[in-house]
Amino acid sequence: MPINNSLIHFVKESVRPYLVWSGLFQSWDMFSPDPKSVNSYLEAVVIYSDGTSQLWSFPRMELLGAKDRYFKERYRKYEENLQNNDYADLWPDAARYIARLNSDSTHRVQKVLLVVRWSDIIPRGDNSYDRGPWDVNVFYTYTVKPEDLQ
């Protein structure tokens, strides 16, 4: 609940460990307090040990068919969290997973760069919608170790 006073805070902190342990923790803040006002998606630049590279894309819901969108929706949620700096601890695992997906015995991945692309949703004065220009940012670089590929 979005209520912040010392009593509520005390109660919350007192019961929190029990709720977390038992799985009864919960939060109901979808699209709130305000929905996202930006479209974004993730990619990875995969650099191989022979110097070649390729662009690998996370599943993008808007490019999938209706059935795949149903099955792959967890990726949307995961990508939303992955591009959040508060969850930077997720980045090495993601880079290793992408390295394994793109490696084989002859073509070894050396580096993985995680890239976010985003475009603002801009409301116009005449109430119509405009898509802002796409920006890009490399937010994480991981050097792959041999043991990561096993």
Partner: protein, 313 residues
Amino acid sequence: MNFRIVPDAWNRFFFAPQSPTPVALFRILYGVVVIATLILLRPDWLAWYGPHSWVTLSTMQKMEPGMRLNLFAVIPQTNVAIETLFWIFLASAILLTIGLLTRVNTIVVFLCLASIDQRNLHILNGGDTFLRVAGFFLIFAPAGAAFSLDHLIRVRRGRESSEIPLSSPWAQRMIQIEMALLYFVSFCWKIQGASWIHGTALYYVYHLDEIQRFPLPQWLLTPAILKLGTWSALVMEFSLGVLVWIKKLRYKILLLGLIFHLYLEYSLNVPMFQWDVLSAYVLFIDPGDLDRVWCWMRDRVAVHRLKRQDATE
């Protein structure tokens, strides 16, 4: 002033015996949505929960330290062990749905649900949270007292009459409260946001590429309609959280809630969330009404059978 009014009302609400048919029906719907959730996850069981998954167990434990009810922390971190856990989970969800060894399976399903949620918190939506919390209270409910193989077996063995015994509905009430809380807390969060108050929130939601499902007619996406939709969503969430407790309004609000969720299911890609929440609507139906519908259906089937018998003779 009668000081017994509040405790009496409390006792009536939580403990006055009533027919367990709503919670038994909820058990079936709940089982179906858990099975559907597992099937949708099936191609990625190991990608999300395996030893070399997108988020490893050690990363999850580092990010969310402390004691947690999580079977993944105690089973071997191998593909075979993890897939076995999922197959046990699926089998248990099927048994729960048909009502065989109901109590045991409510416990197994809750343990498995809590474990997969704790194992990877970064892929969850509100539907998963609702299933987990409702699953906890389902453990204590007389979920196998009706519409179940358990009940059928007990009747066949002469341990129970075919009449469904009344029981205390406190666990059902807890799931109802959980559902109402879901809407009310969502409402409270939303009114903190300027876009919900100004009526522009849905404008952004329906321009997020990643979350669209099927196309909507253009007139529904005009700013005026989206503004109306934004405020209607607030009214709906408040009504389903608060006004749903008023008996006279209940069925009308549930019907509007059903339409609201079906609209979201068509237009937004949040798989299972709408069905997870809708499954609990049945708990708000009066057991008497549910029994009447059940009798009506039974009579229709009996008449249909008789007619078929007559036709063949």
